[in-house]
């Protein structure tokens, strides 16, 4: 199952995800990362999975689970020095993922 690349590319542009400085401040406030200690379940990991998807890199179903497990609590947005709307970007990626699964 692969997300439609072009749409993910638009998403990466819409939220300017390339601004991510990889500082990891977001991971320290993320409840799903705290519960799992798996980076696919943390904001920095999710943002980079989306970037990798937009580059056409194949992502497997476990990694998709990482996107789906986001609680949209927005704790990450508050601490991101680059001002990325992380939760919203993940939410939009989820929508693309679910739509493509339903097709």
């Amino acid at each position: 199952m692969i997300l439609i690349n072009d749409q993910v590319k638009l998403l990466v542009e819409k939220y300017s995800l390339a601004r991510c400085a990889r500082c990891n401040f977001c991971e320290s406030v993320c409840p799903t990362y705290a519960a799992t200690r798996r980076r696919v379940h943390g904001p920095r990991g999710r943002i980079w999975l989306i970037i990798y998807l937009s580059q056409g890199i194949d992502v497997n179903s476990d990694e998709y689970d990482g996107l789906l497990s986001c609680l949209n609590c927005r704790a990450c947005n508050q601490v991101c020095p680059a001002g990325i709307e992380i939760a919203e970007a993940i939410h939009d990626a989820k929508v693309l993922l679910i739509r493509s699964a339903l097709k």
């Binding site: 300017s16 390339a18 601004r19 990891n24 991971e27 980076r39 696919v40 992502v59 601490v79 020095p81």
Partner: protein, 467 residues
């Protein structure tokens, strides 16, 4: 190197939930916060105990598999990047605070605890762990000990090396040992612990540590002053120290920093004729504060400071500090499409004026913008280089600028890395510094690495090359 045999044995001893092999997730371990070339690990292992770390490293040593310790991955010089098909050892699951012991003045902590989490716990007892890298929200105890991290409070409290009593360390051969002591004094032979601290995961994997703790300051007062000349600001720092003050922090912000912050935070204004700003925190007993402030205001004025303000009110202190806190976000937001490389050099505080001027000349020479702040109480400057990651010439200028900054620091009697470490990006600069200080030391460092790690499996190619 027999990766398949290693993999099979790891799978026998580790639960599958602690092993990561899918490509997308492995890629999340390909970078740190630096511009260093990314590299994807072959496997990530997430141990939970010293014993698991030890067993995995024994296997890596047996099958000659390069293995890279990894924590918050906030490094700025490529230290945790797994080159040459290395396996990553992700220590973030070792995240318990094991004991706070006020009588013996230590906290015993596992390495995956972040510094802010540690300090939140210690604050409940009225204590703190002083080293405070700006990344303390995300940086862990293990990564900070391995990187020799420091921060704003460095001038008064030093760096992590001054605050670690003892640590459990798994050697590159897989043997777990306890280095140092639990007591404040410790003369148990050669000081191996000091070799491991700051070794960037090349000499051993730290799994838990006894850290010294300190009572929180009774009272803090914050002062701010502007200066028309950077030289005056640097002179003020020298005068403050010469008068016997040891401020908790002395933060320097150059004009570029103030400009950036004012473009990002509407409420922040600064006098247009100022070239530098100092933020100084003094701590001590509440009764002494008035005397301290009077004396400090005199010193700052005497050095040409103006717009001097001081407060001990929490909100007002936050307002003054906003200029510093907002500096990094301001750079990330204002220069869209660009990246920020926070450089890290130290010079003797008396040479700060020359260093700041030098940074300006290097910026003009290469046409890259550099915005500088720093913990100038100890001569530590962070020139932040703004570059375009998608433009090869901008990236190569970045590396030239980094190199020239390092060489300038050496020439001024300073060092190429104060707290961020060497990783892969500063190996050449380290050699340049050792050429000045005695190149025989490079031979000793290589020999030490070989003694600790005869098969060169632990974070190979970082800090120094042994071949």
């Amino acid at each position: 190197m027999d990766f398949e045999a290693f993999r099979a044995e790891v799978k026998r001893i580790m639960d599958s939930s602690k092993i990561i092999e899918s490509r997308g997730e492995l890629m999340l371990y390909s970078y740190d916060a630096s511009p260093a070339e990314p590299a994807i690990p072959r496997m990530v292992i997430q141990p939970e105990t010293t014993n698991e770390v030890s067993e995995v490293i024994k296997l890596a040593n047996k099958y000659l598999i390069p293995i890279v310790p990894s924590s918050g991955r906030t490094s700025l010089h490529g230290g945790p990047i797994p080159y040459n098909g290395a396996v990553v050892l992700d220590l973030m699951r070792m995240n318990k605070i094991l004991e706070v012991n006020l009588e013996d003045s230590y906290v015993h902590v596992e390495v995956g605890v972040r510094l802010d989490e540690l300090n939140a716990e210690l604050a409940r007892y009225g204590y703190f762990f002083p080293p405070d890298p700006a990344s303390s929200a995300a940086a862990t105890v293990g990564g900070s000990l391995a990187n020799g991290a420091g921060g704003m409070r460095g001038a008064k409290y030093g760096t992590v090396k001054d605050w670690v009593l003892g640590a459990e360390v798994v050697l590159p051969t897989g043997e777990p040992v306890f280095m140092g002591c639990r007591t404040l004094k410790c003369r148990a032979g050669y000081d191996l612990l000091s070799l491991v601290i700051g070794s960037e995961g090349t000499l051993g994997v730290i799994t838990n540590a006894y850290l010294k703790i300190w009572p929180l300051p009774e009272a803090i007062v914050r002062l701010r002053a502007y200066f028309r000349d950077v030289v005056d600001a640097a002179r003020a720092v020298g005068m403050v120290k010469a008068k016997g003050f040891r401020p908790l922090i002395v933060e320097f912000l150059d004009r570029g920093t103030m400009e950036a912050v004012s473009g990002y935070v509407k409420e922040f204004t600064y006098p247009r004729d100022s070239e530098a700003m100092l933020i100084i925190d003094l701590d001590g007993p509440p009764e002494a504060m008035k005397r301290y402030i009077d004396s400090m205001v005199n010193i700052l004025k005497g050095a040409g400071g103006y717009g001097i303000e001081w407060t001990s009110d929490k909100d007002e202190m936050d307002r003054i500090y906003m200029a510093r806190r907002a500096a990094y976000p301001a750079l990330l937001r204002l220069f869209s499409g660009m990246r920020v490389m926070p450089e890290d050099i130290s010079v003797p505080p008396s040479r700060l004026p020359e260093a700041v001027k030098g940074i300006g000349s290097i910026a003009s020479k290469y046409g890259l913008k550099i915005v500088t702040w720093g913990h100038v109480g100890d001569g530590n400057l962070h020139p932040n280089i703004i570059y375009n990651p998608n433009d090869q010439s901008s990236v190569s200028k970045l590396y030239s600028v980094s190199k020239e900054l390092g060489l300038m620091a050496i020439n001024l009697g300073g060092t190429v890395s104060s707290e961020h470490g060497i990783g892969v990006l500063k190996k050449d600069l380290l050699t340049s510094e050792l050429e000045v200080k005695g190149i025989a030391q490079l031979r000793l460092m290589k020999a030490i690495k070989r003694v600790f790690d005869p098969n060169n499996i632990l974070n190979p190619g970082k800090v120094i090359d042994i071949d």
